[in-house]
Amino acid sequence: MILTIAGRELRGGLVTPLLWVLLGAGQVVLAWVFLKVVDDFSGLGADERVVSLSQELALNLFSIAAVIAMMAAPLIAMRMLSAEFRDGTYDLIGAAPVHLYAVVLGKFLGVAALLTPLCLLPAANLTLLLGVAHLDPGLFAAATLGLWLAGLLFGAIGLYAASLSAQPGAAVLAAFGLLLLFSVIGRAQDLSLPGLSLFAWLAWNEHLLWFLLGAVRVSDVAYFLLFTGLFLALTHRRLANRRLA
């Protein structure tokens, strides 16, 4: 049943233009960043180069891709719950013999499947340098994994926000608010609480950074999986409460 719902969401995402527009726009931005990094790097002398080309590309290309995925996830997720509430199609699932957890997991798998091509875009750009420059494939694999895990987290947050409202616009704004909070919360440490690292730990970008540096740490993987699970559990709770509201 999870795959049935995921398949429906995947197909719905592929036949509507949203995903293709996001992929196109994302590729334009990434191509520009890619060219700029390569151009800047090739203009430097050997003694001026602080980090390798692989590191430069991983830090710039994948961090921009993470921002693109952060903006795309709420837009993809909103049609899976919020638009269904608005259009009345959720009644079909609500009256079907399906467990609520299967609905949540099916929708989440759909979001994950649609976000995966976006997360692979930086790696696709890097294939242009194959055979031309000495690149570190392990670094890019770690960065791609980190970006994909961040994409899962964004998707789960987008899905939770989509479960809050029957107005897709409001759901997208709520998701952006949550994602921005999780982006800037690490700065609270710098502002007033220098001794407390909890806020830095809560920020997704602090964890993604390690992947972009080529380090796949269990704590960072656990962070993304933990918060993805948390937002999926909140979505489940919200859908269960919706029947009572």
Binding site: M1, T4, I5, R8, R11, G12, V15, T16, D87, G88, T89, Y90, D91, L92, I93, G94, A95, A96, P97, V98, H99, R243, L244, A245
Partner: protein
């Protein structure tokens, strides 16, 4: 007769507003129950609770003995539901949509093609399998909504205003389909159209302000006492009122007179006495159907002019 649905003391509140209060209903297999009521009476809320889309604030809903709250998946296996707005995905084609609904309702893969073909045939969608749902007319969308509800041959069919948006031919087809489906299952059918409920349903439950005000079996042998006469001019209302079978006569616009018969009197008595009195009978029609009379009496609304 096997009881298919048992609703006991069902109450549903939205904040401080009580949409359903202490509702008791039963539905037997082979029966069509019409749910009637003015706007805001609680019909759609009742059907949403029965479909499992809303949880009751208190009370109990059992479908074939399975508690809908405690075992929602088990109970929902037995029901098909057409909401007020057909739940259609605009980006799918008709066959894709029905295939998705079949998987959602756990129709075995080997039976899916047959189930889809049968549902399409019953709803007049045979040639539209490849048509995108976004390009269907309102009537066909309504039919597709019904097709998804009957696809898995549910034991309980819940239809919220199924003939909305259909032309008169389609309305007759859907009425016949409902009667056909009711042979093996139970149907709960809500509508604003009183003659439709009278034509299709075995029993009618009238809701008003969230309460069940009547749950009677429809009888066809009990005639109405309110009739409308058209007499040759000059229409003499007082002479009509003086007839033995007439309890009350009042003039309407033009040549029409509204007549209330005494109990146990029928239209044949009225026609005979009008003719015998030489009042020039041109037309004799029932003012309101039996169901209309019950409906307006129960909800306390003004009689239609």
């Amino acid at each position: 007769m096997e009881t298919l649905v048992r609703v006991t003391d069902l109450t549903r509140r939205f904040g401080r507003h009580t949409a359903l209060a202490g509702l008791d209903l039963t539905l037997a297999r082979g029966e069509v129950l019409g749910l009637l009521g003015p706007n805001g009476a609680g019909k759609t809320t009742c059907l949403r609770v029965l479909s499992g889309n809303l949880a009751p604030s208190s009370g109990r809903v059992e479908i074939a003995g399975i508690d809908l709250t405690r075992n929602p998946v088990g109970a929902k296996r037995l029901l098909g539901y057409l909401p007020e707005r057909p739940p259609l995905y605009q980006d799918l084609r008709v066959d894709e949509y029905l295939g998705f609904c079949a998987r959602l309702h756990r129709v075995p893969r080997a039976r899916t093609a047959d189930a889809m073909a049968q549902a399409k045939r019953r709803c007049g969608l045979d040639d539209l399998g490849r048509r995108p749902i976004a390009k269907l007319s309102k009537g066909y969308r309504q039919r597709l909504g019904i097709a998804q509800a009957i696809l898995h041959q549910p034991r309980l069919l819940i239809l919220d205003e199924p003939t909305e948006g259909l032309d008169p031919v389609q309305v007759r087809q859907i009425r016949a389909l409902v009667r056909e489906l009711a042979v093996d299952s139970g149907v709960i059918f809500s509508s604003h159209v009183l003659p439709e409920v009278q034509a299709v349903c075995d029993r009618v439950a009238i809701l008003h302000q969230g309460r069940l005000v009547s749950g009677d079996r429809l009888t066809t042998d009990r005639g109405t006492l309110v009739w409308r006469l058209r007499l040759a001019p000059p229409a003499d209302c007082a002479a009509v009122g003086a007839l033995d079978c007439v309890a009350q006569a009042s003039p309407l616009q033009g040549e029409y007179t509204r007549v209330v018969l005494k109990p146990a009197q029928g239209p044949e008595d009225l026609a005979r006495q009008v003719v015998a009195a030489g009042l020039g009978l041109r037309e004799l029609t029932a003012e309101r159907s039996d169901l209309e009379r019950v409906f307006f009496d129960l909800i306390g609304a003004e009689e239609p002019a």
